[in-house]
């Protein structure tokens, strides 16, 4: 069965300020959707809200994935449903090596979407958890690294600590390859990359696409779409999706910008406020 991420009339605030004002969107496994729009239109907010970032408050609407109500689950359970977010600004976590982090992440994701039983320390009793043997994990990770042409030295480094912009983005894609999501949200994966890095990252993404992976590619610019061909393009403005179309819409946007799409009332409203 094809997994579907269904977003209905989603409203969300940050610090009381409305950002999403009724988003409707469906992303299916195997499809590539590009979500475009000017700065501040709510694209990144949408990705964060889907993953449950506690900074945002959902005030109305629904998110469904595989017929489950995503909003009921804490942020750690959403990736365990095989949702994935490639961050725009991946956090660095000094002292935690990629090898340590990725193995535990993979173990958690393989546990699936269920509550995790905690041990009973510090009485000395520790719960056993089904873990991935180090040999198996290494083999799997190295396979993915080879696929994405990532250097071996990467695994001994601390997560994103001292990584260049390009390295951080590729590290996100490597995590995506390892965790094998059904739907991946890629938040401005192209930002901060020079043209060579963009090409490498795009090729990595293309290496992962197929019938099992649905992608919501959030981007400002059309340029990443030169490498990754979307099935659908959506334009977000002021917290709503105001236009959807095929890949040709992206080219049109590149040519004309976003102005022509602004609804009349929005433009007037802004003019009055100004």
């Amino acid at each position: 069965m094809t997994s579907e991420l269904i977003i209905k009339n989603l409203h969300a605030n940050i610090e009381g300020k409305p950002i999403l004002r009724g988003v409707d969107l469906v992303v299916k496994q195997g499809e590539i959707h590009a979500l475009m729009g000017p700065n501040g239109s709510g694209k990144s907010t949408l990705a964060n809200v889907i993953m449950g970032n506690p900074k945002y408050e959902v005030t109305d609407g629904e998110i469904w994935f595989k017929d489950e109500n995503v909003l009921e689950y804490s942020p750690d359970r959403r990736p365990r449903m095989r949702l994935f977010l490639a961050f725009q600004y991946p956090m660095s976590i000094p002292g935690v090596s990629v090898a340590n982090f990725l193995r535990r992440s993979l173990e958690a994701v393989r546990e699936g979407n269920k509550t995790v039983e905690e041990g009973e320390n510090p009485t000395g009793k520790m719960t056993k958890r089904r873990n991935i043997p180090p040999g198996e994990f290494r083999k799997l990770l190295q396979e993915k690294m080879r696929l994405l042409k990532v250097d071996n030295s990467f695994i001994n480094r601390a997560i994103n600590d001292g990584f260049s912009g390009g390295e951080k983005k590729r590290a996100e894609i490597l995590q995506m390859a390892l965790l094998e999501p059904e739907i991946a949200l890629m938040d401005e994966t192209d930002s901060g990359l020079d043209i060579d890095a963009l090409k490498i990252v795009s090729e990595s993404v293309n290496a992962l696409t197929g019938p099992n992976l649905g992608i919501l590619l959030i981007t400002h610019y059309q340029r990443m779409l030169n490498y990754i061909t979307p099935d659908f393009v959506h334009v977000m403005f002021h917290g709503r999706i105001i236009k959807s179309g095929g890949k040709e819409l992206a080219l049109e946007l590149e040519e004309k910008g976003y102005e022509w799409l602004k609804p009349a009332d929005e433009t007037n409203g802004e003019a009055v406020n100004a």
Binding site: S97, R103, S105, P122, T127, N131, L179
Partner: protein, 485 residues
Amino acid sequence: MPETLLSGFSRNAVEELSRLKGEPAWMLEKRLQAWETYENTPTPVGRRGDLGTLRMFSNFRFQELHPYVPAQSDSPLPAAIASSLQEALVHARSGLVVQRNTSVVRTELADKLQQQGVILTDLETAVRNYPELVQQHFMTNCIPVSSDKYTALHAAFWSSGIFLYVPKGVEIEDPILAQVWEDEPGSAIFTHTLIIADELSNVRFVQELNSTQGSEHNSFVHSIVEIYTKNAAHVEFSNLQDLGQNVWHITHKNAVQEQDGSVAWVLADLGSKVMLSNIGVDLMGNGTAGELVGVFFADHEQRYAIKTLSHHNALNTNAETLVKGVLTDSSRVEFDGMIRIEPGAQHTASFLSDHTLLLSDECRSESIPGLEIGANEVSASHGATTGKIDEEQLFYLMVRGIPQEEAERIIVQGFFEPVLQRIPLENLRVRLRRSIIQRLRGSYETEADTWVDAQERWEIEGVDEYAIALDSSTASDDEIKLTEY
């Protein structure tokens, strides 16, 4: 059963202890003088407005404790001690000392080192057999009897300890391990370690303080470590303190260094109910160096007061102090780090930093770094940070499927890891990681394995020729950096 002493501390008890030990007169005299100093020294109560660790100790009921609880050296070790020993002994060693309560019950030293003139023995034996060395170094210049009220009590009632002498030019590669065990609730144990490293010698010493856990009765462990390095000698001393939370603990450690000597302290404090810890380096000779790397983890009602001192008395001396600790529950930690550079100690460099991570709303920490600089051509700095777990880091880990509590534990691991990597002995690093995991609530058995595996066992199986560097702009061999262990 050997004779024991009644509870309580008194001049009579000092005399009785010395008699039971069959000590020479000079030691009895030293003890009695110390007792007098103890009686004449006011009890330290700390400053107004501090977190109250010293004050708490001032109310401790010393008089209910037994100051002398010897153990028989020929009897088998209790299971807890035996199994802990087993764990410590998986790696190569040059020597071993086990102290149980107030007696040293095992001593061994590699034959080769014995032939080279290395002396490793319990301190009572050293008092009898090497009186000059002991008289000259025992609580004189390094940690004088009158340092504070509790050091005076220690001098009056020291009950057992370890004596190590490394002769000129002897370099001991594998570490000497020492275990001090308290398994007699209600006892007061004064353990004393005296290390003299002669010119150009080199030694690593690992000491562990443990106790049987879970007793309702209070115990008291007072530990002093004195290190002397003669010209160009190097001593590395690691201390793992994992006493039960019924144990009140005071420790005083100092190193006096002659020209070009160096000392490295590695300190891990996880246990005890209340701890007063004083660690210092006295850089007396030109070109000396001191390093202090410390980690601590406090939970429940634990209280620590940690004082460090880098004391620069000569030209071209270097010191670095780095302490990292995690607090949770209602624990409290006071950290007081001092760099003192005397006039004339020119061309000196000294750095101090301490970082604290708070995991609960109830725990409290206080950090007072200090600088006293009497010379003008020096470089010195200190820094302290205290903070909670970063919400953004937490969210990042959670979005990779890791439940919140486990994500917090991973961040704690990352907080400690850079300090742990500075611990030279792999065995100690690994055991510390395991001990930290064990103390973190909710942890899985496999968490420690995964952590250790990622840090210690991950071997790069060559570099794939098709692989390119992560950052395409710097695709070259420089990118391929293997983590050093």
